[in-house]
């Protein structure tokens, strides 16, 4: 059992070693926090990102309906969101139990979290607005394809990151 005696005053070298120790632990825990989601949930995220721009386009379509009545698009979109968040709750619980750490996004590399938090919503909502202005559904399909590709790309990146640092 460690005692507290003789720990102070510290030399700069001792303090530096203690800080390096905490850095080592932080790196190690960050690797655990980068544990990728299971494949079934990656599939759910990818499907969600593929469906959302198209459904949102249907909700935002002007003038009138696009392919289906707007209320059908809205019901479909909200139902898909509800299913997704239910799946997220299950996946998050299992992820915590498997990794043994809390689910935190702030310890992940900013290069991954910033695009997810900023770029994706801009693509999804932006394509809906462009579709409403132009009536061209290709914008929605492009946003769907991009969202799905980003989801798969980030998953593969996390698999690599986790494998490299674990």
């Amino acid at each position: 059992m460690e005692t507290d005696e003789g720990t102070f005053p510290l030399s700069p070298e001792q303090a530096r070693a203690a800080l390096a120790d905490t850095d080592h632990i932080r790196t190690s825990v960050s690797a655990i926090s980068a544990t990728p989601w299971p494949l079934w949930f990656v599939t759910a995220i990818t499907a969600m990102l593929f469906v959302t721009p198209i459904a949102l386009g249907g909700v935002m379509a002007e003038p009138g309906d696009w392919l289906m009545p707007q209320w059908v698009w809205l019901t479909g979109l909200l139902s898909a969101e509800a299913v997704f968040y239910a799946l997220f709750a299950v996946a998050a619980k299992r992820w915590r139990e498997t990794t043994g750490v809390a689910l935190r996004f702030d310890v992940l590399p900013k290069a991954a979290t910033l695009p997810l938090c900023v770029v994706l919503p801009v693509i999804v909502v932006g394509s809906g607005f462009v579709f409403r202005e132009t009536g061209e559904p290709l914008w929605l399909y492009a946003a769907s394809a991009l969202g799905a590709a980003l989801s798969i790309g980030f998953h593969l990146w996390f698999v690599r990151l986790h494998g490299k640092t674990a």
């Binding site: 460690e2 507290d4 720990t7 102070f8 800080l19 120790d21 905490t22 632990i25």
Partner: protein, 93 residues
């Protein structure tokens, strides 16, 4: 030295605080694995930190087995960060 905390500074306790500060909350087994110490040694250090009001525990059941999750209290997080600041001050610019 302001912020220096002798309770936290003991190497394994500093590691526990660093781990919990990063992870937010961690299962006892994960902390033990990361530190490479026995359950009894970890338990003793956790008790010291809990007595100081720096760490709290939550019990949860998984697969019929009881698991203990550890996290820093707000006081513990502040003390740990103040301790890190004190260490950085000792190291200097």
């Amino acid at each position: 030295m302001a912020g220096f905390d002798a309770t936290i500074h003991a190497p394994n306790r500093l590691r526990i605080c660093a781990l919990l500060d990063t992870a937010g909350e961690a299962e006892f087994g994960v902390v033990q694995e990361q530190l490479g110490v026995s359950p009894s040694v970890l338990s003793k250090h956790v008790t010291v930190l809990m007595d100081a009001g720096y760490v709290e525990q939550r019990k949860a059941v998984r697969d019929t087995r009881r698991r203990v999750w550890l996290s820093l209290t707000r006081e513990g997080r502040e003390a740990y960060r103040a301790h890190l600041a004190a260490l950085r001050a000792i190291v200097g610019p």
